[in-house]
Amino acid sequence: MNRPVLVVEELHTSFATDRGELKAVDGVSFSLRGGRTLGVVGESGSGKSATARSVMDLLPAGVSATTGRVLLDGRDVRSLPRSQSRHVWGVEASMVFQNPAGSLNPVMQVGRQIAEGLRYHRRMPRRAAMRRARELLEQVGIADPDRRLREYPHQLSGGMRQRAAIAIALACEPKLLIADEPTTALDVTVQKQILDLLDRLRRQHSMAMILISHDLGVVAGRTDEVVVMYAGRIVEQAPTPRLFAVMRHPYTKALFESIPKVAQPSHTRLRIIPGRPPDLAALPGGCAFAPRCAHARPRCLAESPALSADAAAEHRFACFYPAGTSDGEAALAANRDAGRTAAGLALSDAAGAA
C-alpha cells in the first residue's frame, strides 16, 4: 500500500504575544500520501501558515511553542538530532511562499541559488550543479534559461520569480512540497500558469503537495482532499468532490456562498458572514464560530465541538448542528423563530433594510 508521506498528529502551536498566549494551531491532524494534493483553505489568521511552518520547523524558537508529531516517511522529524534534520528541510520536504522573495536571495544570481542546495545537500560538483540548475529553469517554464541563470531576482517578473522559487524548492527532488498561497500575489493568467506548473511537477515527481489558499476556487480544481480551517482548527475535511457537493460545517457553507461567482448574473445578492474572525489570543469558550453562526444553540457556547469521525465518506466536521442534517435544520428553524441565535446574532427577514 501507498504509505503516507506525511502524518501530522495533534499539532499545537502558540505564540507568546504581549496580550498573552495566542493559539495559532490548536490540535491539527491529517495525513497525506505520495502523489496526492491536500488543499488547506481558510481566511487570513486562521492558522494556515502557522500549520505549514510548524510542519516545516520554520518558526522562531523564542516566540513560539509547538507540540505534536510530524512523521515524514514514517520518521518523527521533530525528534531528530540537528545533524540529521538539516537534511530533511529543503531536501525531503520544501516550501514555496506567497512572496517569492522569502525564498530568493536578492544579491545572488538565480543559477547559483538553485545550484547551492545541490552542492550542499547532494555534494554535486559546481559544473554539474549549474547544468542541473539550467534544466530546472527549463522545467519550470522559464524561457531563455542561459540568460536567466546569471540574472538577479529583481530582474525577473513576479511570475518568473515564483517559477525560480519553485525551481529552488524542487532542486533536491523533495517528497513533499508545501505551497503557501503561491499565487496570491500574481495576476489571474499567471496564477493559472503557476498552478498548472505545480500540478505537472507533482505528477512527474510523484510528490505529495499541500496547497494553501484563501481561495476556495484555487483548491477546487487542484486538490484531492480539502481541509477548512477556522481559528486554528480544522472545522471540516473531505475529499474535494465530496466537500464541494456537501458542505456540512456552517462556516464552510457560508464562506462558499459569500464568494461572487462569474457564473451568476451581475448584481446577484451575496450571502454574507456577519462579524469577523475571533481574536486568537482571547478565544471565548465553546465553538469559535458561534458568534457568527446562524445555527448556534446554547450547547455551542458551552462546549467546543470535536472533529467527527465519519469514516464511510471520509468526511469529517466539527459542528453540533451541521448544515443539511435534521439537527442542523432544526437548530436554524428554532433560531429563526426566536429571531436570534444563542449567541445573540439577530436573524432578520428584513435583511438589507435600514
Binding site: 513576479g158 477546487a220 456562498e257 459569500s258 464568494i259 457564473a263 446562524a294 446574532l345
Partner: protein, 370 residues
Amino acid sequence: MAGVGAAHLRPTGEVLLQATDLHVRYPAGRGRRVSALSGVSFDVAEGETLGLVGESGCGKSTTARAVLQLPRPTSGRVVFDGVDLTALRGEELRRVRTGVQMIFQDPVSSLNPRRRVADIVREGLDIWPERPGPRAGGGPSATDRVRAVLDSVGMDLDEVGDRRPHEFSGGQCQRICIARALALGPRVLICDEPVSALDVSIQAQILNLLEDLKDRYGLTMLFIAHDLAVVKSISDRVCVMYLGRICEIGPTDAVFDRPAHPYTAALLASIPQLDPAAEGGEDVLRGDPPSPFEAPSGCRFRTRCDRAADLCAEQAPELRPAPSGQFVACHFPLPGEPAPAAASVPPLERLDALHDTASADRAYPDRLAP
C-alpha cells in the same frame, strides 16, 4: 497617434461622466517616460456602475486618478456633469471635484492614525461647509451628517466617533473610508480595488453595502478590481484593459458571457473554477504582459495572442461594435461564443440544489454583528 476610437461613447447629454482620449505618461528616470494610458475613452451614465478590470499595471488606478485630475492627464478630456474638469484650475477644480469621491484598496493607510473617526468623516464638511449640496436636502448640521453617513455604513457615531483607526479591522476601516467619501454628498464614487485586501467574508459585506448605498444615494460608480467575479457582481457595464488601452467595453453580461476580445476570453478561462469537476484546460495564455517600456506596435496584446496576424503588428485596432452589444478593439474578434468559463461552471440549478441558497440567503442580516 492611433487611439482606440470613440465609437462606443454615448451622447454627452446622456452621461454623467465622460473621459475622452486620455493619455498619461509618467517620468521614469534617466529622461525616459513610461506611457501608462494611451487613448482611453469611456463614459458612465447617472446611476450606472462601470467596472474596470485588467491585470496589474494595465492602468486602472491611473485612469481613476486621471478622472480626478490627480495628476492631470498628459492629454485628453474629462467632463463631469457638463463641466470640463481639464479646463478648471485651483479652488474651482477642487470645489467641483467634491462631487467625485474615491475609496482605495488599503483602507487602513488611507486614514490618518492620529485622528478620531468622527473628525475623519467630518474633515471634508469643515473644508466645504456649504456642501453637502443638492442631495443632502434641507442642510442638516455637520454632526447630523456625520451620524447619518456612519449609520449608512452600519456604524454608530456614539460608539465609534471617539475611537482611532487602529482600533478597527480592515473591513471596518473601509466602512469609515466610505462614510468619509459620502459625507460630501458626491454623485460619483470611484472605488479602486476596495475589497482586494479584505477576506472573502468581509468582501461580501462591503460589496453588498456598496450596492445598497448606490441605490440609497443614487450613486454613479467607477469600480476597479482585478477579480473578474467581483467586477461582474457589481457592474452594469464593464471595461477590460490591457497595457494602457481598452480591449473591450459594454454591458457586463455580454462581455462576460460572450467575450469578443481574445484577452477577455483568456482572462475568463484563467479564473479558478469553484467546481471540482470542471475540466482544467491547458495554459490559456503564455508569458507575462510586456513591460510598458516595450509596448508592442499595433495591437498591444499581439505578443500573447494566438489569433495574431501581420495586420495586428501594423495597426492598432479601434473599438468597433461586436454582435452581443459590446465594443471590441480587435482585428479578428471572437464570434461571440459563450465563454469557456461560463460554459463549464455548474448550472445555477445545481448550485442551488447543493447549497440551498434559496432558503438560506436571508438567514443573515446584512449589517455588522452586534
